[in-house]
Point group: C2
Chain length 407, copies 2
Amino acid sequence: MALIVQKYGGTSVGSVERIQTVAKKIKAFKDSGNQLVVSVSAMSGETNRMAALARVIQDTPSLREMDVLLTTGEQVTISLLSMALQQLGCDAISYTGSQVRITTDSEHGKARIKSIDDHRIRDSLDEGKVVVVAGFQGTDEEGNITTLGRGGSDTTAVALAAALGADECQIYTDVEGVYTTDPRIEPNARKMNTVSYEEMLEMASLGSKVLQIRSVEFASKYKVPLRVLSSLVDNPVGTLITSEENIMEQALISGIAHNKDEAKLSLIGVPDEPGIAFKILKPISVANIEVDMIVQSVSAREGLTNFAFTVHRNDFVGASNILDHLRKELGAMAVQSDDKVVKVSLVGIGMRSHAGIAAKMFEVLHGENINIQMISTSEIKISVVIDEKYLELAVRSLHSAFELDKE
Amino acid sequence: MALIVQKYGGTSVGSVERIQTVAKKIKAFKDSGNQLVVSVSAMSGETNRMAALARVIQDTPSLREMDVLLTTGEQVTISLLSMALQQLGCDAISYTGSQVRITTDSEHGKARIKSIDDHRIRDSLDEGKVVVVAGFQGTDEEGNITTLGRGGSDTTAVALAAALGADECQIYTDVEGVYTTDPRIEPNARKMNTVSYEEMLEMASLGSKVLQIRSVEFASKYKVPLRVLSSLVDNPVGTLITSEENIMEQALISGIAHNKDEAKLSLIGVPDEPGIAFKILKPISVANIEVDMIVQSVSAREGLTNFAFTVHRNDFVGASNILDHLRKELGAMAVQSDDKVVKVSLVGIGMRSHAGIAAKMFEVLHGENINIQMISTSEIKISVVIDEKYLELAVRSLHSAFELDKE
């Protein structure tokens, strides 16, 4: 008898009919001899509807009260899903985050899970019940209601699986699994059967939208086998995200990620002296702007350097204004900024042991006449910033050159 | 500085605009130097909307899961009201029933409050905050979410006032207070300034819809001064429900209550032997039908008796079927049933010390040619069952005869 934690997102439970469909799937799993804990999101649209109400009432809604408001969404879903299961003759019980003591820190709106008390869940499982737990929510040490932020239901599911030592955590979504790249860009993209935590983490942070980074981090930390699969097809296989050592045959490159939300800013001709990076990035950080890639390069004129970095496009205007100030202050020559850039990344554990991946990547892009504006590498990924008009071309030519369409 | 507990019902918080209006009232109270704890219901319509969803999913919705579902209604209101108060610059904090440990028994859907932990509320009051508490809800000893049943938000408010030793508990509603009788029937009905707990209890149980019995019981038990007042007018006075000894001048009769939901059933000519009442009422009680008035009278034939009782009209058919069975089993002569009856009751503490009230009541009804079908009396009330067509006539003539329109 396996213990499985399943997570169904807002679209999967978006109506009474869909809740009934999910209940049938859960019952089938239960009937084939598994113990089941199910974590669910709010019905799709509910969270936005409530957030809109709040904004009518308060200019900047209180984060604490927003969490009190939003967590009602999952509470509605857990009760309705439990009823749907009972209607099918499948004994079920619902728990809010507070009831199973999903304890978090006090960062309303983006809290982090600190612990879960598993005894009520285990008792209910022992009684033969399907346990339905509200995702996305917890309470802090003082009992205040908190939410985990975007993708929080995935994190709840993984945390439950970790706390219970579940055999697998299954994240049901509207895609069939993790692909070698975005199938909307490259029709030959191939669904992977397995991928390592590390690769999945890189892909998530590089723009793959399948899973939120924090749920993958959690799974990796507690070695929870994590499966992404479709709630729209029967008997889905999905993609298993697991430890490197469990993956028999490791591909050189696992996938190609891309991120369209990039903007690039450069300060040209700043004095090349100690502390210059700090002087530039400090005011950016104070403005709460997150910096992604950073490149410092030699300027054409001696004693000067060029300093470039990327930010999210939403922060483009804010960062540009700061750089205009800094140009005068630091006596730099010019500010160059460009919000029409994208980031394309190769990810693969195989890179560790194989030299020449970067060279081959640059060669492929050069072959297509794509200019590389910035480069950043880590142990298992290479990212380049390029003009956004080359995005599709770059992804497709790399996908083909590294033979990702082949098993 | 007075500590006031206020309760606003579903209509008062039925929209964003109304929540904002309530927030303004609360702020004005706060600004005039009071400490405030506010208990609220779900926005009007929400509870019914959710209950309807549940019934689509489960033929007979699980009582436990129904409570999980319905309590989200008040949770939405407490967060929105707290935000509205904060928007007005009035510091406020929300608490669910679970967060202030409103502990109840485990009777889902009609739980009773056992205790309230007041320390979080006191701490927040000490910090100068308005405390907004979800009405209608609690958790049992095991942490399961419970609801208090109809009128539960009133009970929450009174229980909070009792736990905190509040100076007054104010129930805001859509009427201006407690009237000597239903103003829709008798335009001369007068709003009372004060009424005793005991009288209010009788009136509530006899059909007055202003307050639920349990909240009055609670107020009486813990001597909480309870005020019913309108949320629709400015500076309302309302009606104060308090201990008998606090009421300076006690009227002979306080009010006239009526109940239209009555039905009367009689078993004619049953053997007059010990245990006959038990034999008749046992199967009625097993069928979960509540019996109100009971009258056993002598039959025209020796050794026989007539047994009559009233039930809620919803139970009329069920009770009639049982009596048909009993007629054969007990060898009774006939079953008489009538669902076109009403109950009219005089209530007043003055009755205790004044004889002749009943006689005067019967005289008044006789003067109008109204036949009395059943009579039931207690220390402070007299109820009669009459044909429903005489309801208005009976109420008006009694109201006038006992001079209830005069201070």
